[in-house]
């Protein structure tokens, strides 16, 4: 009975999260967004006290139900393990094992240190919910680095789960280890009734956490994920989920820290290349006009920004990258292709913001609505325009007014805050744009719609701390 309830709840969470990631309509998060908000590590990094308290209390009351129900990576392992167990003769395939303490607490200590010292790549890679998010997002938006990271994660998880059930959760997963500090004192836990137990070891062999030791009639509650397989499979009614009060545990807190500066290396080179391409295209000759078809348009390259851009609602670059757990839910939901997974080691798999394929549209606040880590705090449309995340700057040499002598003004026409004014620069030459820094919010409409390619003549530098009017 308990096992069935667990499976149903797990299915609800697992499907909801997966569907939300894959959702092409950008509306399902309104129904299922809470499943992401309940994820523990994002809540810790986002200092979402309510979720932290709920999770800790749940662990103190019922053990690590979180790992069996809420964590999608945990449920994914159960699914894989279940399929493995359906093979002939593999039903009772687990054996009791000892906790690998040095690895488990070693990884946990490194993880906490990584959070404190801002080694985000390490944090992101191990974070269970985020790892799952990246696997799903890699299917939705396949790009080589994300697919590689997701594939490696998936293979490691799948192999471990196929062979030994919840090995990852009980030796590596930092969330599992954290919850184990509380679950060891859980009020309700599976207890073996030594009077009824016939030492048949079915429960031990069915325990995917390998935490039941029938020889001693003991359960390691730090590793038990409260899946209730032992209870449902005991023919002698010897295992019960019952009240067994322990002592209080300790609590972990994360202190974020990160440092973000971007060097200005490639910029000069790219500018030069763009100038050369522009000049070559300019040379007009007597070419017969052919009707139809599309001109080839060079893809835009991300300019070297003096400071990174982070989404509206993230308050500062530091806040954003120290809280983000790289689940990529925002990446999967961004309808304008502005958020993409970073391959930069400092922010590995965390999103970075770029206007090469779109810009941050004024009416959209989806990333702020879905972020479970509080890295992007919820905003309304009205609030969004009061934030400044960056400032546009112009590289006059690349502007088509200069390269093609065309009166363009596309940036000014599309600036949602009217921050761009076209002015005369040289008598007789087309007008060039100027930016009113006070009005510019950094949305990137100008950069994205700038006809200069591959580097936009007008582009946005991030603000390390976002300004609010």
């Amino acid at each position: 009975m308990l096992r069935k309830i667990r499976i149903i709840l797990a299915a609800v969470f697992f499907i909801a999260i997966t569907v939300m990631f894959l959702d092409p309509t950008g509306s399902i998060y309104k129904c299922f967004g809470w499943t992401a908000k309940l994820q523990f590590l994002p809540a810790v990094l986002g200092l979402n006290l309510i979720v932290i308290i709920i999770t800790v209390i749940a662990a103190l009351l019922f053990g690590r139900v979180y790992c069996s129900v809420i964590c999608p990576l945990g449920v994914l392992q159960d699914i894989i393990s279940n399929i493995s167990g359906r093979r002939k003769g593999k039903k009772n395939r687990f054996t009791s094992s000892k906790e690998i303490k040095w690895l488990r607490y070693g990884v946990w200590a490194l993880f906490v240190a990584a959070i404190i010292f801002g080694v985000q790549a390490f944090v992101s890679i191990l974070a269970p919910y985020s790892a799952y998010g990246r696997i799903i997002n890699a299917m939705k938006h396949p790009a080589l680095p994300t697919v590689i990271v997701a594939a490696v994660t998936l293979v490691v998880i799948a192999v471990l789960a196929w062979r030994n059930g919840r090995t990852y959760c009980n030796t590596i997963c930092p969330v599992g280890t954290t919850l184990s500090f509380f679950s060891r004192f859980a009020m309700f836990r599976p207890v073996i009734d030594t009077e009824k137990c016939k030492d048949c070891k079915v429960c031990e062999k069915r325990c995917k956490a390998s935490c039941i030791d029938i020889a001693e009639h003991k359960v390691d509650y730090t590793r038990c994920v409260a899946c209730f397989n032992c209870i449902d499979n005991c023919k002698f009614d010897a295992v019960h989920y019952r009240f067994a009060w322990g002592k209080c545990g300790k609590k972990t807190v994360a202190a974020p820290a990160a440092d973000d500066t971007a060097d200005t290396g490639r910029r000069a080179f790219m500018t030069g290349a763009a100038l050369a391409i522009g000049a070559a295209a300019l040379k007009a000759q007597e070419v017969p006009k052919r009707d139809g078809g599309f001109a080839e348009i060079l893809p835009k390259v991300n300019p070297e920004r003096t400071e990174l851009l982070t989404p509206f609602g993230s308050k500062s670059v530091k806040d954003f990258y120290s809280r983000c757990t790289a689940c990529q839910l925002c990446v999967s939901q961004c309808p304008n292709n502005v958020l993409k997974p970073s391959t930069d080691l400092m922010h590995f798999m965390q999103p970075y913001m770029t206007y090469t394929d779109g810009y941050c549209r004024p009416e959209c606040t989806i990333c702020s609505q879905v972020c479970p880590a509080g890295a992007i705090e919820p905003l309304t449309k009205e609030e969004k325009t009061s934030f400044h995340i960056g400032v546009a700057v112009l590289d006059r040499r690349l502007c088509v007014a200069h390269t093609d002598h065309i009166d363009c003004g596309n940036c000014a026409r599309h600036c949602p805050t009217g921050a761009i004014t076209m002015v005369t620069h040289h008598e007789g030459l087309p007008l060039i744009p100027t930016v009113d820094e006070a009005k510019c919010i950094g949305c990137g409409a100008c950069e994205n719609l700038c006809p200069a390619r591959p580097v936009s003549a007008i582009y946005v530098n991030g603000l390390s701390v976002h300004r609010q009017d």
Partner: protein
Amino acid sequence: MENNNISRRDFLKDVGIGTVALGAAAAGCSPKGSRKDDSQAGKMELRTNPATGDKVSLLGYGCMRWRMKRDENGRQVIDQDNVNELVDYAMAHGVNYYDTSPAYLQGQSEEAAGIALSRYPRKDYYIATKLSNFGVFSREGTQEMYYKSFEQLRTDYFDYYLLHAIGRGGIPAFNERYVDNDIMSFLLAEREAGRIRQLGFSFHGMQSDFDDLMKLYDKYHWDFVQIEMNYMDWKHADPRQNTNAAYLYEELDKREIPITVMEPLLGGRLARVPENVSNLMKTRDPDATVASWAFRFVGSHPRVLTALSGMTYMENLVENVNTFSDFKPMNEEELEFMDQLAGLMAEYPMINCNNCQYCMPCPYGVDIPGIFMHYNSIVTEGKMPLNKEQREFRKLRRNYLTTYSKAIESLRQADHCIGCHQCIEHCPQSISIPEELQRIDQYIEKLKQDTL
């Protein structure tokens, strides 16, 4: 080949085999060209060019809208198999006038037409091509284009040769392309030599531009003129940019100059009309297709030698062959009816784009005709979101935005128009393309931000 097909059809008809059996036979055993023989029974309407005695089919094939596909290098190329199949069907059903240009279909139209047509005896079809020397004004460059057309079309003479799209810009523009470089006298000599059997021009422009060209008649003796004519342009052409076809027709008829007609269907716009208009058509004749009204209107004018239709799909071709076989001209009352329909149609705020692709490629990547086509289809379907009070506004808004993003990839949408105005000179309809694009862009921006 043509004779074979026709005789076989006649034979089958004589023996009294029904259309069903005929269709089955065609599908089962005919190699090409007769795929849909069941659709047609009568003879293609032929018009005689009094100067040459040419028997020209009233349905002409416009080689401007054939289907393109991507080759292994990702380049857009004409689907030649498809073209061959279409031409086979057309030839088998008496379509003998093929109109192309060195500019059409990214410069591939002439060659594709040449490949398809050269499989038939040269005397069985008439070739019309053009001197499309846009952006080429030198005598050498222009002559090179002229000679290349022979090669592409695999022929040593042109039946009909047109100065492509003149009128706009008046006499100065005409002089720049044909007189200052002495090409006009070259062409007259070529006509004398028989390599150009008939010399004419295709016209786009205002009434005064046309009058100017007619004044040159004594000098050049235009053998024929190609005009844009359909029931909308008959009296509802925009006088700031174009001329009513009624006027053009009358002027040419007066001089007994044969007329070839382009855009009888306005690039398909007259095959897909607003509901109130199509309802009137269907009420009057439930069996007639919407497009057939437009074609019959054009064909009902006796000075018209041929009406060109750029048939992309076999279905278009079969339908048009039906319309022009055993052709029934409209009576006075029907012409009056078309006039009424045109009045109704003129109420709809459409953009005058016929998807001719002359403006393309836009150097900044904008899909100009695609954006206009989408806009027009929304107008035609009566699905334009206007304001929040409108019934089903949310649904219309969502429909507009999703169909737009599906039809036009984001890189090619209206917000990428920078207003360089390079397209303007290419548009035969003189649409203020950048202004229209920016108007649509602003409208879409309001839709997206929900501030309409």
